[in-house]
Symmetry: C2
Subunit: 256 residues, 2 copies
């Protein structure tokens, strides 16, 4: 059984830090669901009982290391680990590769720092059929453990792009309308025709989109508030916008 001093465990534990993840090009996934989603698992750490419960996952991994609960908890970085932690390769792709797949719906997370929020929007984007999700600007690391968990596997389902900028020009050049979600926007979401390919820009709940970003979008779009709430939280707002687009596109093209 491996301990916290076993070299393989030491190497994996380093991946809890962003800098070390960047250097290795690898990150950690926790729990059987996420381990199953990963294309390739270099190292699989598991309690003996979890490994026995998931022989298919143990067979797929390059190397398997049984560990105790203590080691697992350290690698999992969560209070209720599910017995397995895997080491896998970064999955992000360059923007041009993502755009070559001709997505009709794209979500751009601009400067979102909360990993739980970012992961939730990634999951919602996947559900709504967004083929590409861009993490732009000073955003959370998509390989942060909380973000990976909140994505519930969607990190492995979409073309995920990391970029210093929101890439508005490139998205537009690829034929997409670029819409900024903005609580103070002048266009009402439900009065727009959303059937065309669309990239949505979402900013942080606390600070909105950074200066200059909403201005370059084709429209600043607000979700109408019918009650007395001042705004929606980010996960709710993204879900409403992305599903409004997905539904309009499906209605516009019954083949979808």
């Amino acid at each position: 059984v491996s301990t916290l001093r076993t070299p393989r465990v030491v190497a994996a534990r380093k991946l809890l830090r962003r800098r070390e993840r960047e250097a290795a090009g690898r990150f950690l996934v926790e729990g059987p669901h996420l381990v199953r989603e990963a294309t390739r698992i270099h190292d699989l750490f598991g309690t003996p009982s979890a490994l026995a419960r998931h022989p298919d996952l143990a067979r797929r991994a390059d190397r398997v290391s049984p560990v105790g609960e203590e080691v697992l908890a350290v690698l999992a970085g969560t209070v209720a680990p599910q017995g397995l932690v895997g080491v896998c390769d970064f999955v992000d792709v360059p923007l041009d590769v993502a755009l070559d797949n001709r997505p009709s719906l794209v979500a751009v997370l601009v400067g979102i720092r909360d990993p739980g929020n970012a992961g939730t929007v990634l999951r919602t984007a996947d559900a709504a059929g967004a083929g590409t999700v861009i993490f732009a600007g000073e955003a959370v690391d998509p390989y942060n453990g909380k973000c990976v968990r909140a994505s519930a596997g969607s990190l492995f389902h979409v073309d995920m792009v990391r970029s210093a900028t929101p890439e508005v020009d490139e998205l537009r050049a690829a034929g997409m309308r670029v819409l900024a979600a903005d609580g103070h926007g002048d266009a009402d979401l439900f009065e727009l025709d959303l059937a065309a390919p669309t990239a949505w820009l979402f900013g942080s709940e606390a600070h909105g989109l950074p200066d200059g970003v909403a201005e370059v979008a084709d429209a600043r779009v607000r979700i109408p508030i019918h009650g007395r709430a001042e705004s929606l939280n980010l996960a709710a707002a993204a879900a409403v916008c992305l599903y409004a687009s997905a539904t309009a596109m499906r209605r516009g093209d019954p083949q979808r």
Copy 2:
């Protein structure tokens, strides 16, 4: 300046516990935004600087107690308190009072235990124009500090009802269609006519609606998944359902 031993602080601190809240019929709100939303503040605790920044709030409170950062942090129950904590009365109303206001959109949270999720759904329901939100079954206490914070004030905007059951018969008797949000439901949300008054039942993300609850709804409704995500998280699913209803009702009645 009051300390942790000052009787008023001792009494307020007890309200961090659900049992004591129930006994007193009072709860705590944290931060100037929530303090401002409360109809009546019995006691207002604040750091001297926060009280100086918000003289209007200090004037409205029955009693004002300057406290140090330490006392404030204890009462606020959060890592980044905003200088003010108020004691106010429970705001829930009986179901018949809420239904007398003839809401056309109702959200029922059935057995949702996570306070952040519950508060977020409450906020989203308010934004979508739901006049009534019901906390049903073994649900989180709506007066839990995390729930109050996540509601962002919406606790004070809607008719909030606490009930042992989802009250399906009463909602139907009040002329509402009762729809169960269910990832495995047989009705597609976007193929339904949602213009009629509707009560939505939402269960916990982990366990869904309890046995027997979805069965008594008029329909079990799924949000279509266009990508490879298995499901949406609760806040996202509730936002999509509630806004689908709100939008259909507005289209059905241009006066709204």
